[in-house]
Symmetry: C3
Subunit: 212 residues, 3 copies
């Protein structure tokens, strides 16, 4: 077997990570889409949304675990093991905090607050950009496109910051401390989702800087 | 000196980490046992429990510092330096959040809430499994046993999640906002302890995947 | 070109990181100084302080981004890439949480609480010590001095912990739940700043242990 063939033999193992990350990204896009659609008009007596989010979150746990198993087994990785670790954990965090947001909406039986769906739209848009970034990271074929998606995710996080600020100011006007505690918790979980998306975008940008 | 002897010469240095990690784990088992026993029947006017937790936390700080000193000095480590770093920091976080939970119970003079001791029991059980996992990690002599302990810790964290959810629902029924703020803080600190134990279990699982 | 010259050729690239970290540290010292001066006597109707903090925070984002760009381009780094990553992210977190503290003071229109400026003084002192530690880290010329600064930062964090505890006890005596929620948020953001400074000090100590 010549040198060229040896490298070809390694290629499929390396590709495993991109296949898994593309599946993770696709799962996040679907999860955030159903989350957003569910929040536009939700019924606290029907916990279908919560069950769906729980299923997606478990699916993400399985995929993340599979990435760590591959990381343990594969000598060859497409980029630093540390970066694969950060990327996988960061993407899993997004799913965890989407699920937590949904959980606390139902647990607290919070009233419908219009900012919830403003957040979920920003979250869904961020997941779509993450999917695009991860797709274009494969083989480092389009670093400019990756970078553009990361910039968009950063801007969504900035908008989410403002949505939170304005929602909190309005919320405190209600003068109802128990309602404030409940809705504030949910708003903060939602905002953390956009923070986690930004963390992943930063990880992706750092990977592009190193390899592209 | 033959190659074999060279390796033997390195061994003691390598072992230093397991000796330290076993001491850390043993400290956490004792700390969590006293924490749990203290919470079963506690008296807010007697801060013995708080002082004990503070002593254990300082002991943990010293041990963690010693691990970092050894990490700086030892060229040979039993597994990735990064993993030793994560493991040491993660175990220290467990002690920090047990101490914070105790501190806020006394600081806020919170009423005795039955979920406090449900959490402390889960925390103690998690620490016992961490001790078992770390013991069997030494020399990678029993990866199956390590894995089983990690799975148990994950399940304790899942139970703790449910304990928190149910405790919060009940707490909000009190309709007393100031009490809600105080008890919610303590419950959340307690739940973070189980999160931190799960983080350590994940770090340990990743180490096993890589080396066993 | 002899070996010696090769090393000289690499030196300037390596120095880039210290130049950037010194600029980051200098920026944090100025930011924390203006933050502290602004909090000693602040007027909620004049958001000059908030705008200044926002400007500093953006400056820090730019510097942090530049460090990551250099990290991607430079093959030679003065210490582990991972440590440069931690150091840069940790210093950026300090600025983020100073800004968040300022933001919530104005957003919530919190009353002037004397502990705010106690915190900001501890924060400023920590930033001055960080600047000293980073300056002496350059070329590892004075490890004892670096260590001394790190110990001071740890002690400031301990004091901040006590400031928080005492402020919370006093705050709960007000019996005004909405005020408690607001002021508690700001106090916790301020305390996180000192935690982040301690994290950076620990990162710096670990670097010194490895290289000095």
């Amino acid at each position: 077997m010549g040198i060229g063939n040896i490298f070809k033999a390694f290629q499929p193992k390396d590709k495993v990570f991109f296949v898994l990350f593309e599946e993770v990204a696709s799962n996040l896009v679907k999860m955030s889409k159903e989350f957003h659609e569910g929040l536009i008009d939700f019924d606290l007596n029907d916990d279908t949304l919560l069950k769906k989010m729980s299923d997606y979150e478990h699916k993400m746990d399985d995929l993340t675990h599979e990435i760590f198993v591959q990381l343990g087994e594969n000598f060859i990785t497409p980029f630093d093991r540390e970066d694969i670790n950060y990327l996988a954990s960061g993407l899993d965090d997004i799913a965890d905090y989407i699920f937590s947001s949904a959980k606390y909406i139902f647990l607290y039986k919070t009233p419908e607050v219009k900012e919830f769906s403003e957040f979920s739209l920003l979250i869904h848009k961020s997941c779509v950009e993450l999917q695009n970034a991860i797709h274009n990271l494969n083989g480092f074929k389009n670093p400019a496109e990756v970078k553009e998606s990361c910039i968009k995710i950063n801007s969504f996080e900035n908008i989410a910051d403002d949505v939170l600020s304005q929602a909190l100011v309005k919320l405190f006007e209600s003068n109802d401390p128990i309602n404030i505690i409940k809705v504030k918790d949910v708003l903060e979980y939602l905002e953390i989702v956009t923070d986690k998306a930004e963390d992943v975008a930063n990880t992706i940008e750092n990977i592009v800087i190193k390899y592209a």
